[in-house]
């Protein structure tokens, strides 16, 4: 390939020089692609629960293991496959996608998207050992995805972000539940912004991060072009006691597709985060799928996000 001048410019997030961190070549069995992984931090290890699109075209999850959060080894066998029998089978016949991991009340929950012939639904599972996953329920109506649990109850209720499509518009909504099973009181929180980089669709990406100033949400914003969508990553800050209230929203994306591995793949021009890890000193690693073809890592600090991510005011 020719050596072109780099076009990567400056994004607030710093790309890890080892990107792409995980590609199809790193999976011990034949797959089409690997992307969108959510981290699970334990005292011993940093795991990533990763989405793999199998050769057949249906997605499932595998566990990637690391000690440093950068160099991963993928298990020989998938961790969670679409259900083929029982109640879930009908709603997972075309795969399971985009896991988001939240530790809540000392339990490791996974919110994922179940894809069936009748649409996308949000599903909830939990795991104790990161290898076996127990399904708890399908917790949305059809036409909903990008479900993410908050890491604690707020005002006595469980809270999640989700992304239904209403009138063709994809906004981030919030829903509440007394028991993780029955959900309601849904409200629009973050809609697309006309004319901005996120003017077509938005969806929650990283499980909300609690900071003294509010819940920090790292979300994805989509701009539709005649050549297809461009997926970028941006920031919003929400009230700690009432996360349906937006305190502020970053004007600019913090990461946009620029590198070849973000621009070339099954879905070109995609940066799509599914989780982040924060170290003791505030150092952050954000895990994002690139071009629906590989998993990449970007770094920053919580302080940098809070001070630079919302513009210099």
């Amino acid at each position: 390939m020719n050596t072109y001048r780099r076009h990567s410019h400056r994004d607030l997030l710093h790309r890890w020089e080892g990107n792409p961190a995980i590609t199809a070549e790193d999976i011990p069995f034949a797959v089409n692609t690997v992307f969108n992984g959510s981290p699970i931090v334990t005292p011993e290890a940093i795991y990533l629960l990763i989405r793999i699109e199998g050769m057949r075209g249906h997605s499932f999850f595998a566990l990637a293991r690391s000690t440093d959060g950068l160099h991963f080894t993928v298990d020989e066998k998938p961790a969670m496959l679409p259900e083929t029998e029982g109640f879930f089978a009908l709603y997972e016949s075309n795969g399971i996608e985009d896991p988001r991991v939240t530790f809540l009340e000392d339990t490791c929950y996974i919110v994922y998207t179940a894809v069936g012939d009748f649409g996308h639904r949000i599903a909830l599972a939990k795991t104790a050992d990161y290898v076996h996953y127990e399904r708890l329920g399908l917790i949305s109506e059809p036409g909903n995805k990008d479900g993410i649990l908050f890491p604690r109850k707020i005002n006595g209720k469980y809270v999640r972000f989700d992304r239904p499509i209403g009138k063709g518009q994809g906004s981030i909504w919030i829903s509440y539940s007394p028991d993780l099973k029955y959900w309601g009181e849904s409200k629009v929180v973050i809609p697309p912004r006309g004319g901005y980089w996120d003017d077509y669709r938005v969806g929650a990406s990283v499980p909300p991060i609690e900071t003294p100033e509010g819940w920090l949400e790292i979300y994805h914003g989509v701009k539709m072009t005649s050549a297809g969508p461009i997926y970028r990553i941006g920031l919003a800050l929400l009230d700690l006691d009432n996360p349906a209230k937006v305190i502020k929203r970053g004007d600019d994306p913090i990461l946009s597709p620029r590198e070849d591995y973000e621009r070339i793949g099954d879905i070109p021009n995609v940066c799509f985060a599914c989780g982040a890890v924060i170290g003791d000193n505030g150092a952050m690693k954000i895990y994002y799928g690139a071009a629906d073809t590989s998993i990449c890592i970007a770094t920053t600090t919580l302080e940098e996000l809070m001070t630079e991510g919302f513009g210099k005011t």
Partner: protein, 313 residues
């Protein structure tokens, strides 16, 4: 540009290390792009009929001869140009493309696609010497694509495979004389997964002991445009509507840069394949509607992969 870790994964068809085999820079004339090639053996050498989009945007069919070692020389003058004859002209005003060649008793029949004011149709032409070519007729109704003759009679009649727009699946039709066609029957449809949006036959059927081996393309529409991959099926010789086997995973998917970047990104598409005496199947495939490539696989491997039971993941 930095060299990133490969993300190419594993496919059943092996890419020739010299790919792309024919690009626009190999031509001694200017054009927009070079696309799909029909293939046959004439006087002991490989002859390709290549779809070339001229600078005007109109598509022509050019002849290419193998010089040596997979290197081809494309003739400057088109082998088949859009017709100026009033009967054909209105149906070929935007081009002739995607030729499939069969040799029936020393006559080479070329089924090609016509692009005109009233929709796509199938055209049939013949040659004995690859110098002169004679049009035999426009043999389909409009909105018909991906047509090829069988290299032998089926059930005592000439037969062809085709892809009507409605239903997006592969059909078979029969004829006593190659001019009048009927007895059309449905063979198989798109299905959930990598070939969910449209399918159509690639090269002419290849006769094997089990039946006819079909190499077909499967398209999956995404928000960023379609992904075109190649799959296989085996149909019964006496009853072609009996599907003996159909692959569960594609045998070739766009992964290399020359398959991902071009005028139609993320596509591999074949209209020509040759079975060598040693059992090697040589597949000539267009990539990204911008170049011609060569893939090889042993016929035994491709039969086994076609008959393989659905894998768990």
């Amino acid at each position: 540009m930095p060299q990133y870790k490969r993300a190419t994964g594993r496919d059943i068809v092996h890419r020739w290390e010299g790919n792309p085999a024919i690009t626009v820079s190999d031509l001694d004339f200017q054009c927009l792009d070079i696309r799909n090639a029909g293939a046959t053996i004439y006087k002991g050498g490989i002859v390709l009929l290549v779809t070339v989009q001229h600078l005007s945007g109109c598509q022509y069919i050019h002849l290419a001869r193998e010089e040596k070692n997979n290197r081809f020389v494309v003739e400057t003058e088109p082998f088949l140009s859009p017709s100026l004859d009033p009967e054909y002209g209105v149906h070929e005003s935007m081009g002739v493309l995607d030729p499939r060649i069969v040799n029936i008793k020393g006559t080479y029949y070329i089924t090609y696609l016509t692009d005109g004011e009233h929709g796509y149709r199938l055209g049939l032409a013949k040659t004995k010497d690859f110098k002169t070519v004679e049009r035999m007729g426009l043999i389909s109704e409009p909105d018909m694509k991906a047509g090829t003759l069988f290299p032998k009679k089926v059930k005592g009649k000439y037969a062809r495979l085709e892809r009507p727009q409605e239903g997006s699946g592969i059909w078979i039709s029969y004829s006593e004389d190659l001019i009048f066609w009927g007895d059309s029957e449905f063979l198989f449809p798109p299905r959930s997964g990598w070939d969910c949006s449209r399918i159509g036959i690639g090269p002419p059927p290849i006769e094997i002991d089990l039946g006819w081996l079909l190499i077909y393309y499967g398209a999956k529409d995404t928000s960023a445009g379609p992904l075109y991959r190649l799959g296989t099926a085996i149909i019964d010789k006496n009853d072609p509507t009996h599907i003996i086997g159909r692959c569960t995973v594609p045998v070739l998917a766009p992964r290399e840069i020359y398959e991902r970047i071009g005028n139609t990104p993320n596509s591999v598409f074949s209209t020509g394949a040759l079975l060598k005496e040693d059992g090697t199947l040589v597949i000539f495939y267009g990539a990204a509607d911008s170049c011609i490539n060569i893939g090889t696989v042993s016929i035994q491997t491709i039969i086994e992969s076609t008959m393989q039971e659905e894998a768990a993941f």
